[in-house]
């Protein structure tokens, strides 16, 4: 599996309040609507201009703060192909896996990527390419790869419980 898109570059400690404001957390339930507010308090241009396959690139501790899963959902449904960061906050990490949003931990890659750069990520080989350079990144823990491959925690849980997929679901 591979993706290619434009980089949206941010700094350290991007918290889930700026990724997805609290005022929407008990009102909006549609993922498509959540996507419209993605990164609203950090970069108002993002939700308007992000294209499918684009990559969010950030420093350390991306997704810190509130456990709101919408922070992962809104990015996924905005079309973000992956989030590349120096490190991830732990609940955001879990939520991203559970939503099937690919995460890449790659310090050197983050330093090399600038806003607007074209980024290519190959998950099978664990290689990130940007500006003619290549960076390797570690795979997700084996135990959780199954969740991402199933498309997220809900399809994974259904599989584990042996629940047949309903028609059209």
């Amino acid at each position: 599996m591979a993706i290619r898109g434009r980089a949206w570059k941010y700094g350290d400690d991007v918290n889930t309040d700026v990724i997805y404001p609290g005022k929407y957390t008990y009102t909006i339930s549609s993922p498509a609507e959540m996507a419209q507010h993605a990164l609203e308090d950090l970069d108002p241009a993002f939700a308007r201009e992000v294209k499918r396959g684009d990559v969010v690139v950030a420093g350390k501790n991306f997704g810190c703060g509130s456990s709101r899963e919408q922070a992962a959902t809104c990015l996924k449904y905005a079309g973000v192909g992956a989030v590349v960061a120096k490190s991830f906050a732990r609940i955001f990490f879990r939520n991203a896996i559970n939503q099937g949003l690919a995460l890449v931990e790659c310090r050197e890659g983050v330093d090399a990527i600038e806003q607007g750069d074209e980024v290519e990520i190959d998950f099978s080989s664990g290689i990130l390419r940007c500006g003619g350079r290549e960076f390797s990144f570690p795979p997700l823990p084996a135990e959780v790869i199954g969740i991402v491959e199933a498309g997220g925690l809900i399809p994974y849980t259904r599989k584990v419980l042996g629940i047949e997929d309903r028609e059209g679901s």
Binding site: G22, T25, Y26
Partner: protein, 414 residues
């Protein structure tokens, strides 16, 4: 080599003789907690396709984030939760009158030393104050636990924070944890189990220990821990319905980091906009004018906090142009503060006594900020836009600092 608290609990709850940091284990939590987000979690639960909860006796829900319902949407959320509670036979359900989940759960006996609690709220770490392993998770995984009774967790490394010395007047648990977060940074305890120990911790009330464990989430901790003792037993007596087996870390367990703090000379601390680790001594921000003061939340909404604020506010008035909002953390706290005259002192000084709940902490309702406004709060987060306008500013402090500042109309030391 001895074992840490996290290693011991996660081994026991995953049915293994021992585990090591980095290992991924499957655990059956003793309690899984959710709040208003239960309305969304139950939809995900239905999506899974299971019709009954695996074990309703382990499910606890408390409505607290948007209470009482300020909009039709919030009201619908609550209605859906109540219907689900009835349908599934969930006994441990606390409706809008009870208060903040992190206060209500221990009060109602759901937090036991040595137990494993997962909650769909980042401040689930609070229950570590009772010697429980308590960590925050997301909504989808809460639904998965409702369906299967299990969840994967990564065994964390442990860091040790040792605290000695006696607090000066006006300085308390909130100040030391703000200082620690300021020093270690917002990711200083990322993924770690934080064990607090030392004479100051022993001397601290349960309420103070809850402040430490609650705030540990703000430096990225997976869970936080204070060894249970007589104070824990006394607090829990009459509340818990089962016996418990406390778990203690071994003296010779491996720690990734050990930090020591002596609080004897510690000044009141303030976290400045817009990050919790942007911490300075109060003297550096004295004189900053404020529009709103907030005393309450899961961090500092307990009797100890309200009483400390009342001591400062007794016989004095909130400054003109300042709104002082007081949110007792639970109905029990509210009634105790009513009975002993604390609420009367706070109200007489000009404080607005609000209902137990999260209030404006997360920007839902009950005291939202306009552009350009400044709020000094006892809450645990001050991120940009958190309490309303992204053009507003939030400072965090202890209840006495907030009370003194409400009188002065500007940030000042208690």
């Amino acid at each position: 080599m001895g074992k840490t608290f996290a290693e011991k609990v996660l081994a026991s709850k995953s049915g293994q003789p021992e585990v090591v940091p980095g290992q991924i284990v499957n655990v059956a939590p003793d309690v899984v907690m959710s709040h208003d987000n239960s309305a969304f979690i139950l939809e995900t639960f239905r999506e899974i396709g299971v019709t009954r909860l695996k074990d309703p006796s382990r499910v606890v829900m408390a409505l607290d984030h948007c209470v009482p319902a300020a909009t039709e949407r919030y009201a619908l959320n609550h209605k859906m939760v109540r219907e689900f509670v009835a349908e599934q036979g969930i006994e441990n359900f606390y409706d809008v009158e009870e208060g903040v989940c992190h206060q209500v759960l221990p009060e109602k006996g759901h937090v036991l030393p040595g137990s494993l609690i997962l909650g769909s709220d980042s401040h689930t770490t609070t229950y570590g104050a009772f010697g429980a392993f308590a960590a925050g998770i997301g909504r989808s995984e809460t639904a998965a636990i409702w369906a299967t009774g299990k969840m994967w967790l990564r065994v964390p490394e442990t860091i040790h924070i040792g605290v000695t010395g006696a607090f000066r007047r006006g300085v308390s648990a909130k100040d030391v944890i703000l200082r620690v977060i300021g020093d270690l940074g917002a990711d200083g305890a990322l993924y770690k189990s934080v064990e607090f120990s030392g004479e100051t911790i022993r001397a601290m009330s349960i309420a103070g220990r809850m402040v430490l464990c609650n705030m540990a989430a703000e430096m990225g901790a997976k869970n936080a821990y204070v060894a249970p003792d007589e104070k824990t037993d006394n607090w829990l007596r009459g509340r818990v319905k089962r016996s418990y087996q406390p778990v203690f870390p071994d003296e010779d367990a491996d720690h990734e980091l050990a930090a020591r703090y002596d609080v004897a000379g510690l000044e009141p601390q303030v976290a400045c906009p817009h990050a919790v680790d942007n911490v300075v001594p109060v003297s550096e921000v004295e004189g900053t004018r404020i529009n709103q003061a907030l005393i309450g939340t899961c961090t500092n909404g307990r009797m100890e906090d309200l009483r400390a604020a009342a001591m400062i506010l007794k016989g004095r008035k909130v400054a003109r142009g300042v709104r002082l909002l007081v949110f007792p953390a639970s109905r029990e706290v509210y009634l105790d503060a009513l009975a002993d005259g604390t609420l009367a002192v706070l109200a007489t000084s000009g404080g607005i006594i609000m209902n137990p709940g999260c209030g404006p902490c997360l920007g839902a309702h009950e005291g939202i900020l306009a552009p350009g406004e400044v709020c000094l709060s006892t809450a645990n987060r001050n991120f940009k836009g958190r309490m309303g306008s992204p053009e507003a500013k939030i400072y965090l402090a202890n209840p006495e600092t907030v009370a003194a500042s409400a009188v002065a109309g500007e940030i000042c030391a208690p």
